[in-house]
Subunit: 257 residues, 2 copies
């Protein structure tokens, strides 16, 4: 298990509780807030590992790195000789629907988990508050984890799920909806200030823009309409539809510059 809000975040503790119902849990989570860290890895700083908790069936460590660092250290150092059945990342405080999958540290870690062949679930609640109500998210996390663990291994190998739970009362949630990733983008408002020495600095403060408000098969639509949105994630980013045009305008293999 890991997350991107740090090991002490409420959503992480909720996910730990869920995971423990299913078996032994080893958690390596960032020592500090790593929101927006995407699939970043730490190449030029040492990674400090600290044990935070150890009891029957549970080990929790903090690492001074990114969520992906945590997954890598768990697989390639801590658990090299052990079988891992599932990676859980989250529960994130805030949405990772749509294009947020690209910026999300939570999803960066889930994608990394799937590289190791293990089914990996990124869980998010669309509420940024530190004390957000995770009751509904917990229930849906439990049922999705159960469904994945009960499925045949050949069906879940390398599976990666981006699960987002809407911030509404559990009784109002209509169920789980399988979706595709919504097209969208962030427009940033940069807040400019100056420090006491006159140096300009900026805070990034964005607003999300849904580019497909009409579509009813996207994760953004599902969330806006009371569903838990589940998007299976893959990592081939090749834009195949661009190839014919590019073949025309770029040099062919026979031509040299």
């Amino acid at each position: 298990m890991t997350n991107d809000d740090g090991f002490s975040a409420k959503g992480f503790q909720v996910a730990l509780d869920v995971a423990r119902e299913f078996g032994r849990v080893v958690a390596v989570a960032p020592a500090t807030m790593q929101s927006g860290r995407s699939q970043a890895i730490t190449m030029y700083d040492p990674l400090f590992l600290e044990e935070q908790q150890r009891e029957e069936g549970l080990e929790v460590y903090s690492l001074s790195g990114t969520p992906v660092d945590c997954v890598k250290l768990a697989f390639d150092y801590m658990l090299t000789s052990q079988r891992v059945d599932l990676v859980i990342s989250g529960i994130n405080h805030g949405s990772n629907a749509g294009v947020n999958v690209l910026y999300s540290g939570t999803m960066g870690a889930a994608i990394e988990g799937s590289f190791y062949g293990v089914p990996s679930i990124g869980l998010s609640l669309t509420d940024h508050a530190a004390d957000a109500d995770f009751a509904a998210a917990k229930e849906y996390a439990r049922s999705i984890v159960a469904a994945v663990l009960e499925s045949p291994e050949e069906q879940t190998r390398g599976l990666c799920l981006n699960v987002n739970v809407p911030n509404i009362a559990q009784s109002e949630i209509k169920g789980v909806k399988l979706c595709r990733q919504c097209r969208g983008l962030w427009h940033e408002d940069f807040y400019r200030h100056e420090d006491p020495r006159g140096r300009a600095y900026f805070w990034l403060k964005g607003g999300f823009c849904n580019c497909e408000v009409e579509a009813n098969d996207t994760d953004e639509w599902a969330l806006a309409n009371g569903y838990v949105a589940v998007v299976p994630v893959q990592v081939d980013m090749t834009a195949y539809e661009r190839v014919p045009f590019l073949e025309k305008v770029l040099n062919s293999p026979q031509e040299k510059v």
Copy 2:
């Protein structure tokens, strides 16, 4: 223009030279090394901006953030009322082929540029050395930039290219090859040490594993066989082929937890 090795890197200066042949250049590049920063954004730290260079047709700024922060600040703060024809990210010191597109700060910035509708080119040379020989990369960068700028705008809107140049003599390069992103993954060796106070720390040190050594249409194959590899990049990460299985095992919209 931006990059991920920082504004003082040799590859960035080479790319600046190329870009200046085509028109006015505004560059916002990271103040420090941001390799492996993926599409990370800086949400919890201020971003300090410093002018580094200003002359006819050229402005270079450094920003204390990630490559994506640089692109966002350029579009959403510095150039809001100006037309941007092209985003160039790089030239990176090191390969961004295959799955590296996910970890790469260079490609994170290029992807971000394409979100603004502007054609965006990430350039990399498969040589990590600070004093790498960019002669061939410079020539191919020039020809690819020219091809994109000469193409009709409706064809290049939102285009994103991942261009990797092999680290061989220019005379040995066979030309440009359009490819798909190779499947692969990194296996990490973590170097464990202890600081003078006994705290354990780790350095991430990976080895790349090509999962498709037989395929001859991937970027890794092209590089290994003397071609400049060009992969068009898109950002829909939905794993559509997983949907039928998931529809069977996850709750349907009618069912509630």
